[in-house]
């Protein structure tokens, strides 16, 4: 079966026909069913959303630099932080890793030609676009100031601006985009794997995406119905969330967090998958504790459904319920810690190369651990009553979401960038942008832990003078990040035009995507060269080729590598 080429598969020039140049014109992109192209279109979309959300974040931080003498009115400030949260959560971070990186990488990692339902995949992308359009309409209709959580009764009765209904409807549509992507991925992982790729030979990024897809499928429909009920409540006053009519506003919070807490794991699980790939690849050492990492992803996905009540500790829910939710929440620390421990053990005595993706991977471990450990303060009911709705919470979830998901996303983006476009990005400017982003991130959010624990409430427009110093440091950090992200965008875009051609395997990766050309051909692998999957992290099969400047794969040999 295998075409056993002992020749290096590294190609110094771009292969003649690949998925980028096999067909041309805008329409060939807009109507494509190729998962790689759809992934890249998602990438462009979420980058735009990140730009909008980032602009809003900078506006908020700049406002706080000058205390109450800032540039925005209180109403505009409320709309700005809502825009930041909603754009970042619904448009960027939830689709970020699964829909952009996952779409690009998943079928190649599985050694298959495409996802199970290519048309559905394109449909998901257009649903994402439609959701984004509704968010733009919401901004055009005067924005909304509810915060990204749309809590009732504020959103149904008192919100400023006309944006609540279009924004919630947009989030409803985005939910379906997310559901269909998850459905597609589960069917793909179940049905389309390369010969020899048993469940415990799929790369850990796939395990991460699989666990994510389970949550997307089981949690997102509940958000869909919740948002529909919110819209019906606001337009027709049906009374579901209105105590005056026999409804219950806290029911909205339960529904919302029944989705939105698992959604936190929609954000972090694929990130953990990316980091598993990064740590193994750049340590040039098989991942330590493969099964533990794989099962801990599933454990987090399942436990994630049982903890939503920790968002409602001060909502008046019973102490017993709070205690149970508190206990289960702390339990999630176990699978998370298993992963961190395994990553560290993977690096131990590894041959670590500090490329930009690895720098993001290492940052992830550090920052995510801090974010996770501060989560324990919030999971404890007694301390949460003090810390609830303060900047401590803001800092905590930014350490997990930005420091976790965004760092992993950026690491994965650099990691697969040569595979996507067949060009190497500039390593030096890549590292410089990482310095700005990593340092800027910590300068932005570490002071927020401190002011939060001293009582600075989140979402406040004005603040007491004692918090001025923290706010100003935090704002400086935000600007540093802005510099870093701009440089990063410049680095990557420049590489498309001026980067060195990428070899098939620039990093010494062992998974299947490194065994095809960069960029891959239309059907991911040349005909007749479809891979047979062995152990996903077998570094014995990869050797560096000095002449060609890349790694090449020794073909799969069933004698030295027996199937399990």
């Amino acid at each position: 079966m295998t075409t056993t080429t002992t020749q290096p598969t590294v190609l110094p020039q771009l292969p003649k026909k690949n998925f980028l140049n096999c067909e041309r014109g805008l329409w060939s992109w807009l109507s494509t069913l190729d998962h790689k192209r759809i992934g890249i279109m998602y990438l462009i979309g979420i980058t735009a959303a990140f730009g909008i959300g980032g602009f809003a974040a900078l506006a908020v931080r700049t406002e706080h630099f000058n205390g109450s003498e800032g540039m925005m009115s209180a109403d505009n400030y409320n709309k700005m932080f809502t825009l930041h949260g909603a754009a970042m959560v619904f448009l960027f971070i939830i689709p970020g890793i699964p829909a952009a990186l996952g779409n690009f990488a998943l079928p190649i990692l599985l050694g298959t030609k495409d996802v199970a339902f290519p048309r559905l995949n394109l449909f998901s992308f257009y649903l994402w676009c439609a959701g984004a359009v509704f968010f733009l309409i919401a901004i055009g209709m005067g924005g909304l100031d509810t915060g990204w959580t749309f809590y009732t009764p504020y959103s149904t009765g008192y919100a400023q601006g006309g944006g609540v209904i279009p924004a919630t409807f947009g989030a409803f549509i985005l939910g379906f985009s997310s559901i269909l992507t998850g459905l597609n991925f589960i069917a793909t992982v179940h049905m389309l794997r390369a010969p020899g790729q048993t469940w415990f030979k799929i790369p850990l990024f796939v395990w991460g995406l699989y666990a994510t897809a389970v949550i997307q499928i089981l949690a997102t429909p509940v958000l869909a119905i919740t948002l529909l009920l919110l819209i019906v409540e606001k337009t027709m006053a049906v009374g579901i969330f209105d105590p005056a009519l026999g409804g219950d506003p806290v029911l909205f919070q339960h529904f919302f967090w029944f989705y939105s807490h698992p959604a936190v794991y929609i954000m972090i699980l694929p990130a953990m998958g990316v980091v598993s790939e990064l740590i193994a690849t750049y340590s040039h050492k098989p991942i330590f504790g493969y099964k533990f990492i794989a099962f801990s992803s599933l454990a987090i996905a399942i436990l994630g459904f049982l903890v939503w009540g920790h968002h409602l500790f001060v909502s008046g829910q019973s102490t017993v319920m709070g205690g149970i939710f508190s206990f289960i929440t702390m339990f999630i620390a176990v699978p998370s810690a298993i992963k961190v421990w395994n990553w560290l053990a993977t690096m131990y005595k590894g041959s670590i190369s500090l490329k930009t993706p690895m720098l993001y991977g290492l940052s992830f471990i550090w920052v995510f651990s801090l974010g996770g450990l501060t989560g324990l303060h919030l999971a404890t009911m007694v301390t949460d009553i003090h810390l609830h709705d303060t900047y401590f919470v803001v800092a905590h979830f930014h350490y997990v979401m930005v420091g976790g998901t965004v760092f992993a996303f950026l690491g994965g983006l650099h990691h697969w960038w040569p595979k996507m476009f067949g060009r190497m990005y500039g390593e030096v400017s890549g590292v410089i942008s990482w310095v700005f982003i990593f340092v800027g991130f910590n300068v932005t959010f570490f002071p927020q832990f401190m002011m939060g624990s001293q009582g600075m409430a989140r979402r406040y427009w004005a603040y007491d003078p004692e918090f001025t110093f923290y706010h100003q440091v935090s704002s400086v950090g935000a600007w540093m990040q802005a510099v870093g992200f701009t440089l990063l965008l410049f680095t990557l875009v420049r590489s498309i035009f001026k980067g060195k051609p990428a070899p098939a395997n620039p990093w010494g990766g062992t998974t299947l995507e490194w065994q095809t050309a960069s960029p891959p051909p239309h059907f991911n692998f040349e005909e007749g060269e479809e891979p047979i999957a062995g152990e996903p992290y077998n570094f014995d099969r990869v050797e560096y080729d000095k002449e060609k400047g890349g790694y090449y794969h020794k073909p799969y040999d069933p004698n030295t590598e027996p199937a399990h």
Binding site: A116, I217, A224, V232, L251, F255
Partner: protein
Amino acid sequence: MSQTAAETNLADPYGHDDHGHHGHGHDPNLAHHFEGMDQQVKSGKLGMWLFLATEILMFGGLFCAYFVWRANSYEQFDIGHRYLSTFWGAFNTVLLLASSFTMAWAVRAAQLEQRKLCVWLLGITFVGGLGFMGVKAVEYGAKFSHGMGPGVFYKADDHAREILDAHRNATEDIAKLEAGIKAKNDQIAKAKASGGESDKVKSLEAEIAADKQKVAALKKALPNMWQAKPATVLDAKKHGEVEDHGLNVAAKLRVGKGYADEDKIRAAKGLPAHDKDDLVAYKDEKLKGDQQYYFKHTPEELRSARTFFSIYFCLTGLHGIHVVVGMGLILWIMLRAAKGQFTATYNAPVDLVGLYWHLVDLIWIFLFPLLYLIH
């Protein structure tokens, strides 16, 4: 954007021209990225089952809202469900179950390549869906015309109040008129006793005749306007007697036919008969039997039942949208079946639409008892 024909062909190696470029495209219905029909069919089924799981969770949220609500305020459900027609609910249940049966049969017919039979069975299934939606439309129409729409369209309590007020006004008017007639009769008697003033007597007699006509008209209108009809255990609850009755009596009251039963129990307990004045029923000539008296509760009770109708419309509305989507899908595969596109190896679309239709049916199986039957 200009493309040569050759490029276009290359540009679209997927789907649009389904003949595989890769040597395993024996069946024109096999997509390029699958190894064979078996893998394709299994993937499709897995995808559909996952989709059905998301549907169940979506409805699950709404069912959850129903249960929370019901636990919070049981009364409104007890009041509200009495205004839904069990007969039509059951009729629709039978309709959907039957259409699920013909759907399942159609899947079998597609597998056996019984083309004509398959088209007929899909047609019957479609008609079943149409009938369901027709009944639903009539039910919705009646609800709206009685002011029992969702949310801001709920005006039943106001209607009931109007009817009650009109009745009270009419009763007062009758009393006034009858008092007037009595006074006028006295005046006539006085005039006759004193003799003379025959003109005055005549005009008084004419007035009395007119008043009597008015009274007769009002009395005739009165029973059409309102009538005391079945009360519920809630009335007993409101009067603080639930504890006296105990659970058994409460259960009896729930199945009881109305006032008569309740008053018997009240009499046995040595309690006074039920106070009927608070209750209002509105006679709708278009309806029959028990349904004829539309409102059976006080305006206050009807006000509290507002949310029942909101959730009724949310649940059945979302379900109705699914029925309509299902009908569209059935129509689509019916046309494809008529064109003879399904074979013994390629019939997955019929199968998948069938799965969806069964789910729609299944959800109704839960909706019917929760909304129409239990109280």
